[in-house]
Symmetry: C2
Subunit: 405 residues, 2 copies
């Protein structure tokens, strides 16, 4: 299947408009903090959410609103997570009502999300005062929406593609935010996907739930699973393809398109991890099972010592082996090979569990790149898995040492 | 039972001598890197070890040597972990032989340990050349041994106490090292305890195994479980108390003395965590079970975001709740109270799962202290647990970004 990257973000598919403005939730006077995405018609909708027991109020409301499998709009603010507040549910519902009031869309068809500090009451007033402004500015403004959902993100995270299903041109777009408190178990931080593919809510949910296991759930910036993780997709059917209502060739094409977008954003989220200077990809091969492959990849990508070594471009592979050893799954240590790669080349550092001679200079050159892979062959089977993360830097500590002030 | 702190470290109990010298494993010409502890007579011995699948060669040899429940000496080097090396076992056994050669102690009665970089062959030559020097200098030199086992530790970690069992004056001493790669599951890094109490190997092992669950296993600096964690105790019986061979009043006294030393060192290890500026203690109360209490305490103490907030003296309690929420155990979020304490006082920040008004200024003053407690009442039962950790700082990143060079 041919997938082509195009411009447009969440507005790339037919029938979607977006906008993002500064409404005043953030003290910073410039940064957009209020986003809206709307489909021309009601869309099939699916979501995956944080498994943290402490859940943001918007997560609870969105889950309930998506229970019938349909939605038409997404409202989101940054600057406040609306979590652990007494009136949180009330405010989240009020946000849906704002969209309803200005658009006529039923409030139960609105997806609501918030991101930012936990535990401070979210004042609805700035959004109430600006709902007309954001509504009237709706258009081909995915970038504004993308900016509005950022917190300490340093880059806008967006992707859009086109592809064919059943001879019809289809498109998919997505925006995401996520830099810290990133260690998803059901989805990561905020990700909103749009598509004009015609697909039933049940198949859409299946596609999304299956996909995140190998995409967003394999990302870790700091091992802290957010209270507000939400990944939602709207599929409005305007591409005119034959409705996908079961597993088959068309469904598989849809899965590939979806996976293209989710892996693209997983890598972007990892690379923009708070304070990160580089993307780290951990490729595990030769595993006896998927469980083992994923556990090893996640353990290595989460290790503070591995992350700090990558920051220092230090080929300290002993820390990689150490993290494999405490991953909690059975591996044969004396079968493990480890190498590092980047666009500068590959260097083997460990064979069959023991260190081998290698050039520290060449290793340094490879590890100084801004995208580095740690390759682990367990030599015990044929299953593989990939996880994405980033290095641990002074900047991470700085950002998180005084986030609220 | 009255416990009194005394001087002497591992030499405080009757019949123990120690020494530590620079033999040349480390390039640094000053730092001691070679330690020896010897009992005048054969002693009951017990150990707990890393559960990391990647195990240092010395761990394997020590386990085997302690299988009969007795030992008489401890040899240890720093600067090289002797782990993931092809000739690791050979070198570890050779170290035991060195002790045997100079002392006449059977090599199977020697405990061997190494700490430092993983994956570089350990050259036995400097130890071979200095075994006579270290042997001849044996005496009341616990501090030298303590210094010799340090890696990036900034302070020597030692404690010694006296107490009474059955009318006899007994003593216990210990030295420890541990700053990074600290997240024990069976013991933490290197801890050597000595005592003159008379106790059977079986009861000694039971006491140690039970104790570490609530002491060293509740410490985390960076979530990385070391490949070389070893905690061993020698009990030579020279205090002359009636042999402790079963559970009872004397055993309980011994457990209390042991716990005094292990908690003392747990706090020292946490406070001296790599780059740390402060000790963080997480006290969980009101839990429905021990499993829940411990999981919550460990999750909070391990959270990078909580650790960074503590570094910034930022009362960001939302991160504490977040870490409770992903601890993997069932808690009633809407019952949770959180407060922070230090010697400057206590401040409540969260009641029944929601934020409450509090003075940021007073909170800052409390959190600026070098020993801070995070207090979590789950209000769901009567069980409690404590975990120890430290803040996450620029210095941690600096130390670990280029540890090997």
């Amino acid at each position: 299947m041919k997938i082509k990257e195009i411009s447009g973000g969440v507005c790339a598919p037919v029938g979607f408009k977006a906008n993002g403005i500064h409404c005043g939730i953030r003290k910073n006077k410039v940064k957009r903090d209020f986003a809206l995405i709307v489909s021309d018609v009601k869309a099939a909708a699916a979501g995956v959410y944080t498994s943290n027991l402490v859940k943001g109020a918007p997560v609870v409301v969105t889950k309930s609103n998506l229970s019938d499998g349909y939605a038409q709009a997404i409202i989101c603010n940054s600057g406040n997570a609306n979590t652990c507040n007494k009136n949180g549910l009330e405010v989240a519902k009020e946000m849906c009502k704002l969209v309803s009031g200005v658009s006529g869309i039923k409030e139960e068809d609105v997806i609501v999300a918030s991101t930012g500090v936990i535990g401070l009451p979210l004042d609805i007033t700035p959004m109430k005062e600006h709902i007309n402004v954001i509504w009237e500015g709706l258009g081909d403004n995915s970038d504004f929406a993308s900016e509005a959902i950022m917190t300490t993100d340093t880059v806008k995270k967006s992707v859009s593609i086109e592809f064919e299903i059943g001879g019809k041109r289809c498109a998919m777009g997505a925006i995401a935010k996520g830099v810290g408190m990133v260690c998803p178990n059901m989805a990561t931080n905020l990700i909103f996907l749009t598509t004009d593919v015609a697909i039933t809510p049940a198949m859409l949910q299946k596609a999304l739930s299956d996909d995140v296991k190998d995409s967003f759930n394999m990302v870790s910036v700091d091992g802290d699973q957010s209270t507000n993780d939400t990944c939602c997709i709207l599929a409005n059917g305007l591409a005119g393809n034959k409705l996908i209502d079961s597993v088959g060739a068309d469904y598989n094409k849809f899965r590939k398109a979806l996976n293209y977008c989710t892996v693209y954003l997983s890598r972007m989220i990892a690379k923009d991890g708070e304070g990160a200077t580089k993307l780290i990809e951990c490729n595990v091969t030769g595993a006896a099972s998927k469980t083992i492959a994923k556990a090893v990849a996640r353990s290595v990508i989460k290790s503070s010592l591995v992350k700090a070594a990558m920051f220092g471009a230090d080929a300290n592979w002993g820390r990689v082996l150490c993290a494999i050893g405490y991953a909690g799954v059975k591996v044969d240590v004396e079968a493990i090979d480890v190498s590092f790669t980047s666009k500068k080349g590959e260097i083997a550092v460990c064979k069959a569990g023991y260190g081998i001679d290698f050039s520290e200079e060449i290793a340094k050159e490879i590890l100084l790149e801004d995208e580095v892979s740690i390759n682990i062959n367990l030599n015990s089977g044929k299953v593989k898995a990939t996880a994405w993360g980033c290095d641990l830097t002074y900047e991470y500590v700085k950002i998180n040492g005084d986030y609220r002030t």
